[in-house]
């Protein structure tokens, strides 16, 4: 009976202490390390947007947000012992990275559509250009033939001047 009571007491103490130890071990981690998967994923999405054809001006805002998140996580690293502030800064950095991800995904779609449209337009323009060049060539040939015929009929036979 006594054993069961002790067991229950130990269980309650462990239930209180375990979350505290978990919190301590997680706070020992560097914030940039904690957010590393988020940084990595946001950065990869920015790269994908660039590969899809996003311009420098379009990615400039994303780079600003990435640097802001980096600054927030570094500030969280430097905070001396204030867990609440640290968690708040990390949450803010996390939210900023979320914005980067959303914006980069949207930008990737827009840029890839634009790149596709531009490519199609370039090839269609090439086809139209080839058609116009052929028409110009045919019309030029026609004018040239008419000119030669006209010149032929304008020819006169003149006696040779001695």
């Amino acid at each position: 009976m006594l054993g069961i009571r002790w067991f229950l007491v130990i269980c309650i103490v462990l239930a209180i202490l375990l979350p505290l130890t978990a919190q301590t071990s997680s706070s020992a981690l560097q914030p940039t390390e904690e957010l590393q998967p988020r940084f990595s994923s946001a950065f990869a999405l920015v790269h994908r947007a660039e590969a899809a054809g996003a311009t420098r001006e379009e990615t400039a805002d994303l780079v600003l947000l990435l640097n802001k998140a980096l600054q927030l996580s570094e500030e969280a690293t430097r905070l001396p012992g204030s867990e609440t502030q640290r968690v708040a800064l990390l949450a803010q950095a996390n939210e900023t990275l979320g914005r980067v991800e959303t914006e980069a995904t949207r930008l990737e779609v827009t840029a890839s559509q634009r790149t596709f449209t531009n490519r199609i337009a370039a090839y269609v323009t090439g086809g139209i250009g080839a058609l116009l060049a052929t028409i110009a060539y045919a019309y030029g040939g026609y004018i040239w033939r008419r000119y030669r015929i006209k010149r032929t009929f304008q020819m006169r036979i003149l006696p040779k001047v001695k």
Partner: protein, 207 residues
């Protein structure tokens, strides 16, 4: 129009089509370019001079050294660059360019930043030795302040304070392996960029 003329025009059209489509392909396909970073360090007046206070490489405790460190991204995409600051003496190996290995010198601190293609990130790098001692003819640097932050130096000594050096290494984030790497990959090659500036901390400088 005779069928022969039509056939001839068709050949002309196809010839023009091939030429024009080739032009379209060339204009819409991005050209491959050399990918690289530039890493530089400038003196107090952002020139290639005045690296030391009073142009004297003998630096004393509390002497503020003003440098400007910059990185230019010519990789064609956004990059995460990390500048690692290390402090070494004469015997510690510098980074290895051929094997792309960083220096084993103790890391003091690092600066991180995302930069765009063709963007230059330049930052002030003001540092001073704030604590050092001299055990048996050696000078040992104990604490260093960089941009108003103080860092502990893990026991770095030099005989009579000669030939200390600050090493700056450029690290980048490799998207595929999701790790920080020394230098960067350009095609199948590994390239690195690093700088070092020597200084002394002799007894005369410390007095």
């Amino acid at each position: 129009m005779s069928s022969q003329s039509r056939r001839f025009l068709l050949v002309v059209f196809l010839t023009f089509l091939v030429i024009f489509e080739m032009v379209a392909y060339v204009t819409t396909t991005p050209r491959p370019r050399e990918q690289f970073f530039q890493l530089y360090i400038l003196g107090a007046n952002r020139l290639l001079s005045d690296y030391y206070p009073n142009n004297d490489p003998n630096i004393g405790v509390g002497d503020l050294v003003r440098w400007h460190v910059g990185v230019t991204d010519s990789m064609g995409s956004v990059q995460l660059v990390v500048i690692r600051i290390k402090l070494a003496n004469q015997t510690i190996r510098p980074p290895d360019d051929l094997q792309a290995q960083p220096s084993p010198a103790p890391l003091i601190t690092e600066f991180r930043r995302f930069i765009q293609d063709n963007e230059t990130w330049e930052m002030p790098f003001f540092w001073q030795i704030v604590n050092a001692d001299m055990p048996e003819g050696y000078t040992r640097i104990l604490e260093m302040q960089i941009n108003n932050e103080t860092y502990q130096v893990p026991g770095l000594t030099a005989l009579d304070g000669h030939n200390f050096r600050v090493i700056l290494e450029l690290w980048t984030w490799e998207t595929q392996s999701e790790t920080l790497q020394f230098g960067w990959s350009s095609g199948n090659e590994r390239r690195v960029a690093w700088l070092q500036v020597w200084f002394n901390m002799t007894s005369s400088a410390r007095q």
